[in-house]
Symmetry: C2
Subunit: 423 residues, 2 copies
């Protein structure tokens, strides 16, 4: 008998019908002889509605109380799911993050899991119950306050529980059929990936793929928990993410796993920076002190005539204002000329472990973009990823061109099966 | 510096505006130099909406999960209230029933508080915070499961916390101005009571007055915690409930506190019961085994010719079916003739400690009803209460007649100030 952790997102449990459909799926897994632990998100738009209420009573909702508020959402969905499962004749018990032993640090709104002590969950499933656990939430080691894990936190809850319980697999149910070679909304011929390595999945997540978040994949890799991403609507086999392919898991694209894109970033250019030691450090210290996360960083060689250089970096648009303010405050001490802010950019990334040993990949990527008439503004590479920044207007065409150039297109015209929400 | 526990009901925190209004009131109490602990119910119709969801996924929602579900409501309101208070520049921390140390038995959906260990609340207020506590909920001593206290449970939470913290007063904020000499919807000339004893308040609550529930008053009496019932809308002085009047608390009606009525009960008559020892016991054992709570019980003397008697009792209409079924099953063994079920009845009660030493009260009560043409079907008395059962159609006229006969009418025509909901 195996132990399976299943995670269902908000769109899968958006209403009573969704909860009943999920209950059937959970019971099926139990009937197949597994011990089953289910991690569940808040129903549909519940979290957004709670945030809206918070903003009505306070312009700056604070950490501890905001977490207390948001965690009500999972409490509702998990209790309803437990009831729906009982109604199908199986025993179920629901547990808050705190009850499930999800111990975090004290950073409200984006806490990190530091330990999982799943004693109550273990007892519950050993007694024959299906255990339902609230995703996205935990309790702080110091202070015993309720915390939330930030965006995509329920996936991390699921993987962390799977690790602590030594589960065979962590199944992430969502509203798409799996991980695709590109965003199927952009590339009609995108193919569902049957198996992908943790490494490639990490790069895709870092490059704009929304299906799994970086933190969740990182956790799964550290504890070697295979993830199976699949649709809660279609029930089809989805995408396996693990160290090595198992059994019949197919590895179709030895070189390239997929093309990701991201239009949520902006580009800041610091113009006229004196080209001497310590200048770049001062700039990025100012950014870090403002708690802004940056992504790509590019510095051009300085013009010999002036001794000045330009430094560009990308960052989430939402943090643009903060970064600009922080830099303006240090303009005099650092001594640059000016700042340029550009939020009409897109990042396009090609990911695949195979490119390590295939020197033609970079050239092929640039040629495909060039043939499509797409201008490249910044380039950044890792061992298994190449990313470029282009104009935002060019993004769809660029992704399609690269997808085709690397032979990722599927034979059928419409490969994607979407779930109920059409997201 | 005093310690005040305030409780706000669902209608007081029905929306963002209500929460902000309550926040101001809480901050006022803090500014007046008090330590403040606030107990809050779920917003407006939240609990009903959650119950509705539960019924959509399961026809018979079970205890443990149902409690987990319902407690999400207070979690939302308390977090929002804490944010609203912080927004006014004061420190506030919210606590679940479990965090506040509200320990209960394991009877889900109607748990009883068996202990309160308010260590975290004490620490929080000693550090200068306003502590916000979720009403209606606790955690079971065995199993550490989330429990709810049943209808009106938030009032009990407030009184229990006030007792555990040795508060000076427990303020119950509601949508009416206090306790009245009769239901102001029925008696336009009903007067707000300035002070009432625990004993009289207990009898009023048992007789149909909805402002405070019996369990809450009982708890307050046991620990001698004065209750101040008042409106969260008007801010006027309300009704004090305590052992003895203090300071300027007025005791206007030495004999009679008020008239209560109740149309939520039905009457069962067991016809033709053999008048011999053990028959009544067998009947009420059957009722008790069905977990039906009964109220009044009346047995007439038996007719000498037949040796048979009739036994009547009243019970909540909602439990009528259960009681009838239980009795039908034991008909043969008990040996009565038939059952009569009547849900078109009303109970009218006159309450006042003064009636102990005023023998004319009973006579005056019956005369007033007789003058109003109201027929009496059952009579039951305690030391400080007389209750009668009449036809439901007669209830308003009967209450008004009794109210006038005992000099309770106010001079003004419209004594009542209702809050925002008009309930």
């Amino acid at each position: 008998m195996g132990l399976v952790v299943q995670k269902y997102g908000g769109s899968s449990v958006a209403d009573a019908e969704g909860i009943k459909r999920v209950a059937k799926r959970v019971v099926d897994a139990k009937r197949n002889g597994n011990q089953v632990v289910v991690v569940v998100s808040a129903m549909g738009d519940t979290t957004d509605e709670l945030i809206d209420l918070a903003e009505q009573v306070s312009p700056m909702p604070t950490g501890r109380e905001f977490d207390m508020l948001l965690t009500a959402g999972e409490r509702i969905s998990m209790a309803l799911l437990a009831m729906a499962i009982k109604n199908l004749g199986h025993e179920a018990q629901s547990f808050t993050g705190s009850q499930a032993g999800v111990i975090t640090d004290s950073v409200h709104n984006k806490a990190r899991i530091i330990d999982v002590t799943p004693g109550r969950i273990r007892t519950s499933i050993d007694e024959g119950n299906i255990a339902i656990v609230a995703g996205f939430q935990g309790v702080s080691q110091e202070g015993k306050n309720i915390t939330t894990l930030g965006r995509g936190g329920s996936d991390t809850t699921a993987v962390a529980l799977a690790a602590a319980l030594a589960a065979e697999v962590c199944e992430i149910y969502t509203d798409v059929d799996g991980v695709f070679t590109a965003d199927p909304r952009v590339v009609k011929k995108a193919k569902k990936i049957d198996w992908i390595s943790f490494e490639d999945m990490l790069e895709l997540a870092a490059s704009g793929s929304k299906v799994l978040l970086h933190r969740c994949v990182e956790y799964a890799r550290r504890y070697n928990i295979p993830i199976h991403v699949r649709s809660s609507f279609s029930g089809l086999r989805g995408t396996w993410v693990s160290n090595e392919p198992q059994g019949d898991q197919q590895v179709e694209h030895a070189i390239i796993s997929g093309v990701a894109h991201d239009v949520s970033e902006a580009k800041v250019t610091v113009v006229g920076v004196p080209d001497k030691p310590g200048e770049a450090a001062a700039i990025f210290r100012a950014i870090a002190d403002a708690e802004v996360n940056i992504d790509m960083v590019v510095q051009n060689v300085s013009a010999a005539s002036t001794g000045l250089t330009d430094i560009s970096f990308t960052l989430p648009k939402a943090e643009g204002r903060k970064a600009i303010d922080a830099l303006e405050r240090t303009k005099a001490s650092i001594g640059f000329d000016s700042l340029r802010y550009d939020d009409q950019i897109a990042k396009i990334s090609l990911v695949g472990a195979g490119m390590k040993t295939n020197p033609g990949v970079t050239a092929g990527f640039f040629e495909a973009l060039s043939d499509a008439g797409v201008n490249i503004e910044l380039i950044s590479t890792s061992e298994i990823r190449i990313s470029v920044v282009t104009r935002a207007d060019d993004v769809n065409e660029a992704v399609r061109a690269v997808h085709t150039a690397f032979g990722l297109d599927s034979d059928s015209d419409e490969a994607v099966v979407y779930g109920g929400t059409g997201r």
